[in-house]
């Protein structure tokens, strides 16, 4: 199954794209998805501790299990206002 992954802010620059479709196994957790996405981009891993995850436009715990078609955002610290 596939999920849509979104990158924002400095993460987008490091990832080199704003959005990608990633194949995951059934029940894969967000933490594992991040490891998968950062395996080819070690720079991303350095930011893991400052990130929060979102699943389908809601903040989500890193151990949240994914379903096909989910939209997952990796969000750096926010700085609106």
């Amino acid at each position: 199954m596939f999920v849509k992954v979104l990158y924002f802010g400095r993460l987008k620059e490091i990832a080199g794209s704003a959005e990608e479709s990633v194949e995951v196994r059934d029940g894969e957790r967000i933490e594992e998805l991040f490891a998968r996405c950062s395996s080819s981009r070690p720079e991303l891993r350095k930011f893991r501790s400052s990130l929060v995850a979102a699943r389908n436009r809601e903040f989500a715990a890193w151990d949240t299990a994914l379903s096909g078609g989910d939209e997952v955002g990796f969000l750096p610290p926010v700085s609106g206002g």
Binding site: V52, R57, E58, A60, A61, D63, V78, S79, G80, G81
Partner: protein, 161 residues
């Protein structure tokens, strides 16, 4: 809770925010106060001269979070209407990046709601600011939104407390 929710104005925009018009728009005959917050682009940051800013957002989630903020102040304070408008894209020095207006029968609720809305926006709305200086650009240090506890309770758990 009341019809007032439908009169709220929650937006992301790439145009100049019409502050004065929005402040007028939230006011109705039953209101005795309008409190506004005008967040604008400062010409310096950490001792460096800022040239301009660029804002980007996770737009669908940002709008959802801004609506949650409006709903929260409707539930917790005796207010009438709420407007929360955030600008995206390139902003010049002195321009408004975020404008919040709250109307209420009495001033205390309007002030409190306005203060809550900007504080919550800065903590929970997925918007990011890049600061451009003469010698380079940096993503602003931001706030880490409160993370849900490790658990799988999709709907019941609020994002913040």
């Amino acid at each position: 809770m009341t019809a007032s929710h439908s009169q709220d104005r929650i937006e992301l925009t790439r145009e100049i925010i019409p502050n004065a018009a929005i402040a007028c728009e939230v006011r109705a005959d039953e209101d005795g106060a309008v409190a506004t917050f005008d967040g604008c682009v400062r010409n310096h940051s950490h001792g460096r001269s800022t040239l301009y800013l660029e804002y980007e957002a996770y737009e669908s989630m940002a709008l959802a979070k801004m609506r949650e903020i409006a709903e929260h102040v409707h539930r917790s304070l005796a207010i009438n209407r709420v407007a929360i408008i955030h600008r995206l894209g390139r902003l010049e020095i002195g321009e408004t990046s975020v404008f919040i207006a709250v109307s209420a029968a009495h001033r205390a609720a309007a002030f409190d709601a306005c203060r809550y809305a900007i504080d919550a926006l800065k903590k929970t709305v997925p918007i990011w600011k890049k600061e451009f200086f003469a010698d380079g650009a940096v993503w602003a240090d931001g706030e880490v939104p409160p993370s849900p506890a490790a658990a799988e309770t999709p709907a019941a758990k609020p994002a913040s407390n």
